[in-house]
C-alpha cells in the first residue's frame, strides 16, 4: 500500500468507515503480529497486544499526524503495550512463562527456559531470539524482519543511532551463534536416533 492510499484509508476510517478500518487492519496485522511474536515468544501475548494496539489506534485516528507512517505509530503503541505487559508480569517466574519476559538468559532459570523453549516452541529461531537481551532482540527484529532503517529504529526505541548499530551488530552475531549451537544440538540428537 503506498503512502497516498494509506492516507486516504486512514481519513475514511477516521470518519467512521468500517471498511477502511478493516483494510488498515488487514494491511498491517501480519507484520505487527510477526514483530510481537518474535519479541515476546508467546502467541497469546502477541494476539492480545496486536488486538489492543489496533483498537487504540483506530479509536484515536483523529490524533494521527499523517506526516508519519501509520505503521510507525501502530508499532509504537504496540511496543508500549508490550513494555507495560512485561512490567506487569516481571515478578512472575513460572515455568509457563517462556524467556520472553526476561531480558537475560544467564540467570539460574536459563536451563529450564531453554528446555521449555526447545520442547514447546520447536522453533530454533524463536529460541535463539529469546536468548538475546531484550534491546538486541528488538533491534534485530525491526531491522531484519521489518526492514526498518536504523534512524527509524533509533527514534522508535528512543536511543542514539550508534547504540542501535551496536545492538544490531552484537545481536546479529549472538543470534548466529545460538542458531549454530542449536543446529549442532539437533545434529547430535539425530545422530543418536540413528
Amino acid at each position: 500500500m503506498d503512502r497516498a492510499e494509506e492516507r486516504r484509508l486512514i481519513r475514511r476510517a477516521a470518519a467512521g468507515d468500517k471498511q477502511a478500518a478493516e483494510a488498515c487492519i488487514r494491511a498491517h496485522q501480519p507484520s505487527l503480529y510477526a514483530y510481537m511474536l518474535r519479541l515476546s515468544g508467546r502467541p497469546d501475548v502477541a494476539e492480545d497486544i496486536v488486538q489492543e494496539a489496533f483498537v487504540r489506534v483506530l479509536t484515536s485516528l483523529d490524533r494521527f499526524d499523517d506526516r508519519y507512517r501509520f505503521s510507525t505509530w501502530l508499532f509504537t503503541i504496540a511496543r508500549r503495550l508490550y513494555v507495560n505487559a512485561c512490567q506487569k508480569h516481571k515478578p512472575v517466574y513460572e515455568s509457563d512463562v517462556v524467556g520472553g519476559w526476561h531480558s537475560s538468559a544467564d540467570g539460574p532459570e536459563s536451563p529450564v527456559i531453554d528446555a521449555e523453549v526447545h520442547e514447546n516452541t520447536r522453533d530454533a529461531l524463536q529460541a535463539a531470539l529469546l536468548r538475546l537481551p531484550e534491546e538486541q532482540r528488538e533491534v534485530v527484529i525491526l531491522f531484519h524482519q521489518q526492514d526498518w532503517p536504523i534512524a527509524l529504529i533509533a527514534q522508535h526505541m528512543g536511543m542514539p543511532e550508534g547504540t542501535v548499530k551496536s545492538h544490531l551488530h552484537r545481536g546479529r552475531r549472538r543470534l548466529r551463534a545460538f542458531l549454530e549451537a542449536s543446529e549442532r544440538d539437533t545434529a547430535r540428537v539425530e545422530e543418536a536416533w540413528r
Binding site: 510477526a34 483498537v55 543470534l175
Partner: protein, 271 residues
C-alpha cells in the same frame, strides 16, 4: 599507501560484513566489499552464516486473523457511528463543557464584584466569641456546679453520669439554671476549641419530681445531640405524664482554659 595513492583501509572483515548487512553501502560499494572479502575465507564464512541467520527472520510466522475481533472491540466503543450522529455527540459534549466553564466564570466574576453573594457563611471571629463568653462562662459554671452538687445528694441509685434536673432550692423562690451548649471549632492553629454560648431556664420552686410537677416545667433535651450545637430548651406542660428533664452541663474551671476540661451530661426521668 596503495598503488593508486590512497591510504589503505584497515577495517576488519567483521566491519566490512556489518557494513554490507547494515545496508549502508550502495551497489558499487557493495561490489567493492564483495571483491575485498572474496579472498578471505573467514570473512566469507562470517557473511554467509550471518546472512542465513537474518534471512530466517524474514520468514514471517502465520498470523491468526484478528480483524473481526478488533472491529467488534471498536464497535463496542461506538466508534462506527454515522458521521452525523458523531458530530451531534461532539457538539453536545462541547456545549456541556462550555456551559460548565461559563457557569464557573460567571460565578467567579459575581463573587469578585459582589462579595456578599458568597455561598458559604463567613466564619465568626473565634477570639471575639471566646472573649465575650469567658466571664459569663465562669459565673455559669459556678451556678451549675452548685446545682449538680445539690442534686447528687438527692440521688439514690448509683449513676454513671451526673444526673441533673434543676437547682433544688426548696424555698420556692425563682431560680435560673444556666447551661451552655457547645459546638466544636478550630482555632487559627487548628487546635480543637469549643465555642460556647449561654442560655437560661427559669425554674420556680424546687427541683424534685413533685416540685417540678407543681411548677409544670418540662425540659427537653436531645440526649444525643443537645449541647453540641443545639441549645437545650424547656417548655411547660400539664398532666401526670412522664416528664423528662435533661440538661447538658459544661464546667470551666479557673483559670478558664479555652477548652472545657470536662463535659457532663445529665438527664433523668421524673414521675
Amino acid at each position: 599507501m596503495t598503488d593508486d595513492g590512497r591510504k589503505p583501509d584497515r577495517r576488519s572483515h567483521e566491519e566490512w560484513v556489518d557494513e554490507l548487512l547494515d545496508r549502508r553501502a550502495d551497489d558499487p560499494e557493495s561490489r567493492a566489499i564483495f571483491d575485498r572479502l572474496r579472498t578471505d575465507l573467514d570473512a566469507c564464512r562470517e557473511l554467509a552464516s550471518l546472512k542465513r541467520a537474518t534471512d530466517a527472520l524474514r520468514r514471517t510466522p502465520s498470523a491468526p486473523d484478528l480483524t473481526a475481533d478488533i472491529l467488534h472491540s471498536i464497535d463496542r466503543r461506538r466508534r462506527f457511528l454515522p458521521a452525523r450522529l458523531r458530530r451531534m455527540v461532539t457538539v453536545g459534549r462541547v456545549a456541556v463543557a462550555a456551559g460548565v466553564v461559563f457557569a464557573i466564570g460567571v460565578t467567579a466574576i459575581a463573587r469578585r464584584h459582589t462579595p456578599e453573594l458568597a455561598f458559604t457563611p463567613e466564619p465568626s471571629h473565634l477570639s471575639t466569641l471566646v472573649a465575650s463568653s469567658t466571664t459569663e462562662a465562669r459565673r455559669c459554671a459556678k451556678t451549675v456546679a452548685a446545682a449538680v452538687g445539690t442534686i447528687r445528694d438527692d440521688l439514690t441509685a448509683p449513676v454513671s453520669q451526673v444526673v441533673v434536673v434543676s437547682a433544688r432550692s426548696g424555698d420556692g423562690s425563682p431560680r435560673v439554671i444556666r447551661y451552655r451548649s457547645t459546638s466544636p471549632a478550630f482555632d487559627v492553629n487548628h487546635h480543637p476549641v469549643t465555642v460556647s454560648w449561654n442560655a437560661s431556664v427559669p425554674v420556680v420552686g424546687g427541683s424534685g419530681a413533685a416540685d417540678l410537677g407543681v411548677a409544670g416545667w418540662e425540659f427537653y433535651g436531645d440526649e444525643t445531640t443537645a449541647g453540641l450545637g443545639r441549645p437545650t430548651y424547656a417548655s411547660r406542660r400539664d398532666g401526670p405524664d412522664l416528664i423528662r428533664a435533661g440538661l447538658f452541663f459544661e464546667f470551666w474551671y479557673d483559670p478558664a482554659p479555652s477548652m472545657p476540661d470536662r463535659f457532663e451530661r445529665a438527664s433523668r426521668d421524673i414521675r
